[in-house]
Symmetry: C2
Subunit: 342 residues, 2 copies
Amino acid sequence: MGKTRSAPTLNDVAKAAGVSTATVSRCLNSPEQVIEATRERVMHAVESLGYTPNFAARVMAAKRSFTIGAIIPTMDNAIFARGLQAFQDQLREDGYTLLVSSSAYDPAAEREQIRTLVARGADGLLLIGHERDADIYAYLECHQVPSLIAWSYDPEAQRPSVGFSNTSAMGELARSVIAAGHRRIAMISGVTQGNDRAKSRVEGVRQAMEADGLDSATLTLIETPYEIDMGAEAFGRLMALAPRPTVVMCGNDVLAAGALREAHRLGIQVPEQVSVTGFDDIELAGIVSPALTTVHVPHREMGRKAALELTAMVEGKSEGRSVCINTKLVIRHSLAEPSYCS
Amino acid sequence: MGKTRSAPTLNDVAKAAGVSTATVSRCLNSPEQVIEATRERVMHAVESLGYTPNFAARVMAAKRSFTIGAIIPTMDNAIFARGLQAFQDQLREDGYTLLVSSSAYDPAAEREQIRTLVARGADGLLLIGHERDADIYAYLECHQVPSLIAWSYDPEAQRPSVGFSNTSAMGELARSVIAAGHRRIAMISGVTQGNDRAKSRVEGVRQAMEADGLDSATLTLIETPYEIDMGAEAFGRLMALAPRPTVVMCGNDVLAAGALREAHRLGIQVPEQVSVTGFDDIELAGIVSPALTTVHVPHREMGRKAALELTAMVEGKSEGRSVCINTKLVIRHSLAEPSYCS
DNA sequence: ACACCATTTGTAAGCGCTTACATCAACAAT
DNA sequence: ATTGTTGATGTAAGCGCTTACAAATGGTGT
């Protein structure tokens, strides 16, 4: 007491228990190799000293960290929150820890984070979307770190991915929109530069239009970052157009929430005067009024399956299988038949 | 090519550049100590080999990780997102990396995470709220890891904190509510068990009532986890009461959003029939309709200041000062005078 | 020409842990 | 008794890096 003692090490525990460091290490990592009496003595010493293994030393010696890294584009809104939570829950169940960082949709930052995570000894990496420089994949290969792509599914890609087809999910929604009678279609997309998911969603709308005999060139498209304010601003611009689009399809629920807010501010009735759709079906979608017609993405399922697959890869039990998750249309109140009286 | 080469080490770089490992290390950590010609040669080797320092080895040798850990109660909703983002941004500016984990409001999980983060060599820790077992603080002391408390400010506490007074912030809102004429007040609080912030917010309402001559025992209080669905459910129960409260003060915006959703579902007009208030002023508060009257917490400012203070502590430049952040009432549309016709 | 200093670089000792291998004890089979 | 076998434990060599200290180098001032 009074004396500042520094943290106990394996050595201290070994001395306290009267055994070698190897035995203590074994007690902690493969207890079945140590006879009960010894183990008890060691564990007691661990307890009474309040010993916590030094992670860096452990990683260095074992070359395993039981850590998985994930790099998501943003933590700012809820798009990734739920899926990531499920991912983490499943990882924990399998004895892994998750390290998260966000790249702010910046490829250079993502590259930096990947290096950081690898340097920190991540056993595997979860990445969002397929699109990134080839040398990053080479780097991961060189460091022998398995990686899995989520939030996107592409059977053509050589990289394993757990996700859904953004094209067909958005396509399905677009077909409903068209079936409701809409012809003047506008879309507020996320920034497609370096974002294959955003690209695919636009593509989904275009394909649906063509399939129904509409000229996809008539699609009014605005690209903007995935932020509420940006969605509101873009919606305002669309409403200034003449003739106005009868429906505004948004790249995700966040943009749609912004659109709805602006509609409210402008006194434009949704869906009476203009319909609005979202994507993701995050909690927000059910809260705004009118509640959003959107595409439900089973984020928890995706997160869980991604964790399962990635740990399998890390443990050499899988070469990397791709898993396709099914999305589902959620019809709420923000989409209705168009009124061409405007 | 074809041959699987493993990741290059300091040694490889040293050989490639024809210098010792010490010189390479110095190039990376204190370049000014190395003469330009040598440095260039080394850097070139680093580049061409694609070398990334091994973090575990570095931490072990230097006993510094330039990593800050943060344990937040949840990532599930946006309560902590913005503040944490600001925290991270400021840390990055000062050359630190942030490691985040969430405890799901579970003290045992939090304790576990603290140990994990310390074992990983975190140079400092950000914790939410004051309330936790004393031995945790002892553990941190023993490992010489400075910690800072955020989202709460208590000048009495011996621990440094960066935050605001939950009691007076909520008290101010409650005074407005009372000034608007409300007498039948209900509150949907977060779970107060182990959560000093939730406790203080309830306390704030009670104090305001007493100060205005109301009996704080007449406060109808429901405690429930901070989730939208829980807020909705609690609101439903309150509306079944006779007489109905004329205002429902919620522990945060998430609960309030749930309350609003349920009001909508039940066909109860807000604020005509019942007023609702929130806390935090997250983005959600401006999106729901009616927009929430709430308490604005300057999350970004709090995050930034917390980062500044914590790094100062880590670098021995501060003993740990507490910083008080000012909150501000945001009057929107969900609060109005009561109508006692119900 | 010399000692003296500052600057640049090299040498090597750890940091705390895991694990291959060596050792040892106890017991069974011969 | 001897040998072999098995299981528990100890020994010690790293893992890749930083850094105290030593050594070498190249001026200065005298």
